[in-house]
Structures are given as C-alpha cells and as structure tokens.
C-alpha cells in the first residue's frame, strides 16, 4: 500500500505529534507514505472567498499526485473534504476541468487528470483499505484499561454526498471500531456530533471557545480518559486551546487529547517517545500510567 502523504498547513506546524505518530504507525503496518514537494495548501480557506481560486489550489495538488500515479492519504479532515470535492467536480464536469487545466497550463487527456486519483483520510485508509483484521493481527498490547471518546469532527464524513456512502455521518462507527481494535473502549457521550469550532476561531474567538467548551464538558462528564481526534483543526481547539477554554469558563478539564495514530501506536507496541506524546499540550501522564 503506497500513498502520497498530504500534510496540509496545520499538521506539520501545529500537530507534529499527529504527523510523527502517523509515520511511525504507517511504517509498522506496512503503509508507504511518500512526501511530494508539489503539495501546498489544499485551498480550503479560499472556498469562502473565491471559488475559482479554491478550485485551482486543490486541483494543483491533485495533479501533483496524479503526476506520480499515487492516491492521496490525508491527515486533516478539512483537506480531505476539499480534495475529495474538487476531485469529484473535475472528474464529472468537463467544462470546469478544461477551464482549470487551461489555467494551470495543462492539457486534458495527457494524464487522465483527476479521473483516477483516490483521496482518502488516514482513518478511512486504516478502516477500509487495510482493515480491522489486519490491524488486529499487529496489536502487541491491548489497551483494555482505557476508556476514550471518539471525536469524528465535521469534514471526515460530511457533506455525505461527496463521500460515496462511506460510514454514516449521523451515526458513524469507523473510528469507534478502530479504537476498539486497540482494546480500548470507545464510550458514547452527549452531543458526539458537535463541531469543534475551529472554523470560526479566526472570526469570533468567543464563539469558537464556547463550542470547544461544550464538547470538552461532555467528554469529561462521560468519564473518558482521553478524547481521540483525527484532525489537526480539532486539535487546535481541544489541545492547544484547552487551557484558554478553562480560563474563560473558570473550569478544569485536564483532558488528554490524542490523535488516533498515537493511541494505535501504543497498542502496536511502539514506545510513546516515538509517538510525539511530548508534543501534546495537555500532557497524557495519567493515561500513560494507566496502561503501564
């Protein structure tokens, strides 16, 4: 299994623990991740401003992957949504594809542009391409002492019409199953589908922090040892900004925030030092002690 690794803007700068643990876990599971110098911002911030620029930025990245004949593994859910949406648009709309190709200085037909590229979130690759059975066979340490809360976020499964009926956006299970394969228990909690608020952080910080507070409160109330993420935008809210939420709302969460590869890495027997735990803002000492 070989993919072009799309890091996006946030993972390599604000969530290097996510990137480190992903690379380590991929190596252990036999997934080859190739870094392409052609990758830039996916274009997500531009959708609100200028649709044409959004199309071109995303298309450029898709073209870079098709150039080397690789499907794309994406870490950030917003990047996944953007690249998936534009990929479908280019594949199905000749007029838009011709216009985009022309503006990027490319010829249609030369590369079968974006007809053959698959864009998948890392979690979907693990769940669908690799499979639970294969992962289970590699587990070295069951994390049976842990109870964690899965946070799916918004763009991994929505809008559902671009994701060809993969999982259920209203009642998803893919991340829960991936959690349970590690031996940890994935707990249900109130308002699981709630957005992290990162989308409005730059517009209205108070609203964004209020949204993060609601989620953290619900997860804490469930008794979970940690919240499990799959998107660095969500990480920016729950991990990087947890202290600010605590200060604003005069409360205390001290809730460890893990990216799924960090959890899986522990179960695969990888040393926590190689999984970027030292880069987690909210330290996971209590969780690591619990699993021994």
């Amino acid at each position: 299994m070989k993919y072009a690794l799309f890091l996006g803007c946030t993972a390599p700068t604000k969530a290097r623990n996510y990137e480190i643990s992903t690379r380590k876990v991929a190596e252990t599971l036999g997934i080859e991740l190739i870094d392409l110098t052609g990758f830039e911002c996916c274009g997500f911030p531009l959708k609100s401003v200028h649709y044409e620029s959004f199309l071109l930025m995303a298309a450029r990245n898709l073209y870079a992957a098709e150039d080397v004949g690789l499907n794309i593994c994406v870490l950030c859910s917003a990047c996944t949504g953007t690249l998936t949406e534009v990929n479908r648009e280019l594949a199905s709309n000749d007029k838009i594809r011709q216009r985009v190709l022309s503006k990027l200085g490319k010829q249609d037909g030369e590369y079968g542009f974006a007809q053959n590229i698959k864009v998948k979130h890392l979690i979907r690759i693990l769940h669908e391409d690799l499979g639970l059975q294969k992962i289970s066979s590699k587990i070295r340490r069951k994390l049976s002492n842990l109870t964690v809360a899965a946070h799916y976020g918004c763009h991994y499964l929505k809008p559902s019409d671009i994701y060809d009926n993969y999982d259920d956006p209203e009642n998803p299970h893919s991340l829960d199953e991936l959690i349970e394969v590690t031996g940890a228990r994935s707990i249900n909690y109130e308002e699981r589908e709630r957005c992290c608020g990162a989308g409005v952080l730059a517009i209205d910080e108070d609203i964004a922090l209020s949204m993060a507070q609601k989620k953290l409160e619900n997860v804490k109330a469930s008794g979970a040892d940690a919240i499990i993420l799959m998107c660095p935008f969500c990480g920016a809210m729950y991990d990087e900004n947890q202290k600010r939420v605590e200060t604003k709302f005069q409360t205390n969460f001290d809730l460890p925030v893990l990216y799924y590869p960090q959890l899986l890495g522990l179960a695969l027997g990888i040393d926590q030092k190689q999984l970027g735990f030292n880069l987690n803002k909210v330290k996971a000492y209590s969780l690591l002690e619990k699993i021994g």
Partner: protein, 443 residues
C-alpha cells in the same frame, strides 16, 4: 475623546475651527480639500466631519455622499457661505446632520458639533436598550406636519399661515432649553436662514433655521416664561412662531412629510441603526436570489421552503443568535442584498455541514453561505481574517510559514524536511482574478 475632521479650502477657517474644537476637548484634524479628507478617513475614523460645501475638486456634497456610503455612523455638518433651502434639505436628505452658515461664532460651532455627538450617544443608548429588550427613546413625528428632518416642523393653519417649532429629535439632542431668543412680530424670515436662538445648559447656543419664508405674525410668548414647553410639548404648547407666507406651497415642497418622512426614517433605522425591525420594500433586490443561484454552490437556494431545520441544528446559532441560517436565506430570497452582503453574520459559519445533512430540500446551506460570501468579496466586503489568510497563502503557499528553523526542529524529531519559500498560490491568485478583486477592495 471624539474625533473631528474639519474640511475647508481656507486655512484661516481651518485654524479657527481647530482652535475652538480643540479647546472644547475634541481631537481635531483638518483638510484643505475633499480629496485630502478622504485620505484621512482611510487611516482613521471620525465621529463628526465639518465640511465646507464649496471645495476645489470634489465638492462638500460629494464628500458627504462618500462618507455616508462608507460609514453611515459618521455625522457630517455642512458649512455654507449662504443658506438656501435646497442646500439644507438636499444635504439633510443625503444624511447630513445639520448645516452652519458663515460667518459663525465659536459658540455656534461648539453647539452644533456638541449636538451631533449627543445625538450619536443617544442612538447608542437606544441600541443598547433595544438589545436588552427595554423600551428605548421614541421620537414623536406627527403625521400631519412638514419637517426639516431632525430640526423643525411646520403645521399649516390656514392657506397661507403656519405655526413652526422644533421637532422631538432636535429637542432631545440639545437637552434642557434654558432660554430662547424669539423673533419679534413683523420680522421677515427666510427659509434656511436663522430666525431664533435657543440656549441650552452651560450656555450652549443653538440657531434655528426657518423652515418657511414669510412674515412673523405672532410668537409664543409663553416660552419666555417657561422654556420647558419646548422640551415637553414641542408640537403643542411649545410652538415658536406663526408665520404668514406668500409662497407656502413652494416652501413646503422642499420639506418632508408623510411617506417621504417615513422613508427617510426607515433609511436611518435600517442603514444607520442597523436594526432588523423593518423591511424596506423599495430597497429590495429581487435578482439577488438569482445572483446567488448562479454562484458555484448557490444553485439550490430557491428550493428552500423555510422549515428551519438548518437553524435548529446549527451549533453557532445556539451560541450566537446573530447567525441564523433560515433568516439569512429569507433575507436573501426577499432581496436584502446590501444588508446581507455587508453583514458581519455571514462570516460566522463554521462549515460543520450539520444544516446540509439535515435539510429536507437539499438546499445545501453551507454552500449557499459560501456563495453569498463570494459575492460579498466581489463587492468589497471581506472579513479581515480572510484577507490575512489570502496574504499568508500568497507569501508562503501555506497558512503557516515553514522556514529553515522549522526544518531543523523537524529534523531533530525525525521528520523529513519540507519545502520552504513562496509556492504557487500567488500565481494562482493572479490567474484566477482574486488579486484584482482584492485590489479593488483595498482601493
């Protein structure tokens, strides 16, 4: 501290105004032309602009129109070398707060600027009270009168005779009237020129502009003994003078009444006070929904039947009621183009897609709001956070810069080096036309 900008092509006028207003405690800037004034306005916001009507280059009237367009909350006072009713009413119809005739005394200047600042303070209080659902100030404007808006009223008594007085807004902005200088019977007054003077607390002087021309046949002597009638009964016992006019129809044609007066007030309420209470049908753009439907993502706006599931499901709406998906679609379909595009609420979508997933009509509201934002950007309304993001992408190809230092940190923890430098975003923005759009907005 209130900021005042004085605009006049005569340096001696500028010096005098600056000295008077600075001593009063305002922060004052000056400009010798409308063009210079517009440059100053770009770099800072002013509470009040005092401008001569006649300027070299762009006129004071053109400056007023530009200021009203850019910032309706800045009050403009016109300086005129001669008072004509056309000048006064046109300026006030365009949104000028008031006018002052040359030559004017420092007291007159202080009073008129002070009244503008007081009115803004009252409006601010009203908004605050409105947001707390408390009864705000109400302004009485009897329907059977003619008005020089926010200044005087005229009541037709007979074919050629009128009573005149100050309106409710004017008296609220000047506060308690302590004394009045009435014209004497027999005085000839001219529409647009001063005919009486009021004194407020701390001796502030307010000149009253005659709303009609003619001969004063009677004055309200009760006011000399009890000036509080002006505050308490401005339209009744607080009348000021009775005037016999030979050209009453011509004078009244320059004033506002009935529907015209309502339109004038609605414009103030909607544009300046930004209240949601009124739908001004004449300001609606029925093509707006079609415009949105033509934008990528906006195609399904017309299938919305207003069930409100989007609003009920919206996590932003739960926290901040400014953001209401159903209301936004309703406003868009009704045609409230300007209000929607200029609003701050269209930028509050978190793109969680909850509304899109639950919509029974497949409206795809997340895409609709993106389409609306795209139109807003083309019109020059873009949230500064997005300007900053576009700027970062143009410079670095990412939202966060990665430089050699970052790569050394990555290397230390076993991560591969990433490319540094510009990337291709800037070139893409030129090809796509985004650079031109943002350049227009900056201008």
């Amino acid at each position: 501290m209130a900021r005042i900008l004085v605009v006049d092509d005569e340096p001696i006028v500028l010096d005098g105004c600056e000295a008077t207003l600075t001593k009063t405690g305002y922060d004052v800037d000056t400009a010798l032309s409308a063009e210079e004034a517009l440059m100053r306005i770009k770099t800072g916001r002013y509470n009040v602009i005092v401008t001569d009507l006649k300027l070299p280059g762009l006129s004071g009237m053109q400056l007023l129109k530009t200021v009203k367009d850019k910032d309706p909350e800045t009050d403009t006072i016109m300086i005129t070398g001669y008072a004509t009713v056309q000048t006064a009413v046109e300026a006030m119809r365009l949104g000028a707060f008031d006018y002052i005739s040359k030559p004017f005394t420092p007291d007159e200047l202080r009073s008129i600027v002070g009244r503008a600042i007081e009115r803004r303070r009252l409006l601010g209080e009203e908004r605050l009270k409105a947001t707390k659902n408390r009864v705000a100030f109400e302004y009485n404007m009897p329907a059977d009168l003619y008005y020089l808006p926010e200044h005087s009223w005229v009541r037709r008594m007979t074919e050629n005779t009128v009573d005149i007085g100050i309106d409710d807004v004017f008296q609220k902005t000047i506060g308690i009237v302590t004394d009045i200088e009435l014209p004497s019977a027999g005085t000839i007054i001219e529409q647009g020129n001063a005919y009486a003077e009021l004194y407020g607390i701390a001796g502030r002087l307010y000149k009253l502009w005659a709303p009609v021309s003619g001969q004063v046949v009677a004055v309200n002597e009760k006011l000399k003994k009890d000036s509080s009638l002006l505050n308490n009964e401005p339209y009744g016992e607080g009348w000021i003078a009775r005037v016999e006019s030979t050209e009453l129809d011509k004078d009244i044609a320059n004033l506002l009444s009935g529907d015209a007066m309502i339109q004038w007030w609605l414009r103030r309420e909607i544009v300046e006070r930004k209240t949601d209470r009124y739908v001004q049908v004449s300001a609606l753009d029925p093509d707006f929904k079609h415009e949105i439907a033509k934008e990528p993502g906006g195609e399904n706006i017309k299938v919305c039947f207003g069930c409100g599931i989007c609003t009920a499901t919206c996590p932003i709406r739960e926290i901040d009621t400014r953001y209401n998906p159903r209301k936004i679609i309703r406003m868009a379909i009704l045609g409230m183009r300007e209000r929607v595009l200029k609003s701050d609420f269209i930028w509050l979508c978190s793109t969680c897609y909850a509304c899109t997933e639950r919509c029974p009509q497949d409206v795809k509201f997340t895409n609709i709001i993106n389409a609306i934002k795209n139109i807003a950007v083309k019109e020059g309304y873009i949230h500064h956070a997005f300007t900053a993001q576009v700027d970062l992408l143009a410079k670095h190809g990412r939202l966060y810069e990665i430089d050699e230092f970052d790569n050394r940190r990555r290397e230390k923890i076993g991560l591969p080096e990433l490319w540094t430098g510009k990337g291709s975003a800037e070139k893409i923005f030129k090809t796509s036309g985004l650079v031109d759009i943002l350049k227009r907005e900056a201008e």
